[in-house]
């Protein structure tokens, strides 16, 4: 009989690992709490750095899991444990499944912008998150202020909930810088009259073609980048927003009125990641993500034999890296199952 692998979380990493394991002839059960697979990718219209559609990548992943992977959706796995030779997972409805190996791909949640109270999300009408802006793009909604006016000036605030000890997250979320550049360009495409400003601490354009996109944003689309971190937002009587930053390249404070503010929210370990990590008894790294055996050489292996991890439950990652990590997990699990056979 084929060995069975249990995968919790049908986001990018889970789907790609499922596809790999399935093509290696394992029986794969892929659990998903939502109705449909795809995780956060479902909420993203276009992807950096090429502006290709997120739905194309989702199609690729769906094709991968095809008919052979058993997708068990609308199912929230709340506990996982080693029982005799197998792993046992239990859903919140009390359903039970067994398998020979367990892969955790429970991903990330977006940082809750309200925690940065001084930025005004949830307090002022025209403060949005990057995800809310993307949702407007995805649903083909017109880009308007809360008062149904075309914005004349939009500010993007980088590093919201990232590199910020005050909210407990000292790490960089990796994808927000280039996402801001991508979304800034999209705003200029949709509203050529609208001025766009990005407020950043450092611009981390580490990926292939990221730097070119940043260059294009400045040269072709006239996006202005101002080095400095937002100190606070205040609302004017007409519901526009007054922002204060230190222009750190000039060493002087700067004040500006914007019609909309977009907060580039970072990654935090998802609730399922934290819950399941504790449940299974694997270690967490200093940033609260799941700890891998070795940061360079064993990114899919945990301290518990037979329990594997992949994707953004271990660290913030781009889609490209998440796909690679999922694929790598499939091979790692295959090696482990071929050698040890049982748990």
């Amino acid at each position: 009989m084929n060995k069975r692998v249990l995968i919790v979380g049908a986001g990018i990493a889970g789907m790609e690992a499922a596809a790999g394991l399935s093509s290696l002839n394992y029986e794969v059960l892929l659990f998903e709490k939502d109705e449909k697979p795809g995780g956060h990718l479902k909420n993203w219209e276009r992807l950096f750095p090429t502006q290709r559609l997120g739905s194309e990548v989702l199609e690729f992943l769906e094709k991968g899991i095809g008919e052979t992977v058993k997708l068990i959706s609308n199912t929230n796995i709340i506990s996982a444990e080693k029982s005799d030779k197998n792993f046992k997972v239990v859903s919140d409805k009390g359903d039970v499944w067994y398998g020979d190996a367990l892969l955790i791909t429970t991903g990330y949640d977006l940082f809750e912008a309200r925690k940065k109270e001084e930025y005004g999300h949830g307090i002022y009408d025209n403060v949005f998150t990057s995800a809310e802006l993307e949702s407007l793009f995805l649903n083909k909604k017109e880009l308007l202020t809360h008062q149904n006016k075309k914005p004349a000036r939009i500010g993007f605030i980088h590093c919201v909930g990232s590199r910020d000890k005050k909210v407990g997250n000292v790490y960089c979320s990796k994808v927000c810088c280039v996402t801001a550049v991508k979304q800034a360009i999209e705003v200029r495409e949709k509203l050529p009259e609208c001025e766009v400003y990005c407020f950043y601490m450092d611009l981390r354009m580490y990926g292939m073609h990221f730097e070119e996109l940043y260059n294009e944003a400045q040269e072709k689309w006239g996006v202005t980048f101002i080095r400095g971190r937002l100190s606070e937002t205040a609302e004017n009587i007409d519901k526009s927003l007054q922002i204060k930053v230190e222009d750190t390249l000039l060493g002087r404070p700067l004040r500006m009125t914007v019609d909309m503010l977009v907060l580039m929210v970072g990654f935090v370990p998802s609730k399922s990641t934290t819950m399941l990590g504790k449940e299974v008894g694997i270690d967490f790294n200093s940033n609260g993500f799941l700890k891998t055996m070795d940061e360079h050489t064993s990114t899919n292996i945990t301290g518990k034999p037979g329990v594997f991890v992949a994707g953004t439950c271990t660290s913030p990652q781009t889609i490209t890296n998440t796909i690679i990590d999922g694929r790598s997990a499939a091979l790692t699990i295959h090696e482990w199952l071929s050698k040890s056979g049982t748990v």
Partner: protein
């Protein structure tokens, strides 16, 4: 009668008032010399600048003043450049620095129109 000067005066606020500043020069420059948009303030120009050796003068700062519309600062700094062009040689983004200086000088000399 002239009042006695006690040496006190009201100091204007230091902040850059982006809403009030006039950025006509920046928009003018961006049309004439688009490479002004891509400066990322690395400072290579200033590190190699002979004018910066003995007096505080910095090309990338002028670029920032232009982008922010800080007119006083631009007028104060722009004539310190000797047009040697060393900055043009070291700029990693290929900004046409001398052209920026020349256009800015023309703009200011023609009354900023």
């Amino acid at each position: 009668m002239k009042s006695k000067d006690f040496g006190y005066q009201a100091i204007p606020p230091r902040h850059i008032d982006y809403d009030k500043n006039d950025r006509t020069l920046f928009y003018f420059l961006r049309r004439r010399e688009p490479s002004i948009s891509i400066c990322f303030s690395c400072g290579s120009c200033s590190a190699t600048c002979p004018a910066n050796e003995n007096t505080p003068f910095s090309f990338y700062r002028i670029m920032l003043y232009i982008r922010r519309g800080e007119k006083l600062q631009i007028a104060r700094e722009i004539n310190k450049c000797m047009l040697c062009g060393k900055c043009r040689l070291v700029c990693p983004k290929g900004v046409n620095t001398r052209n920026v200086i020349l256009i800015t000088r023309d703009f200011l000399n023609s009354g900023g129109q």
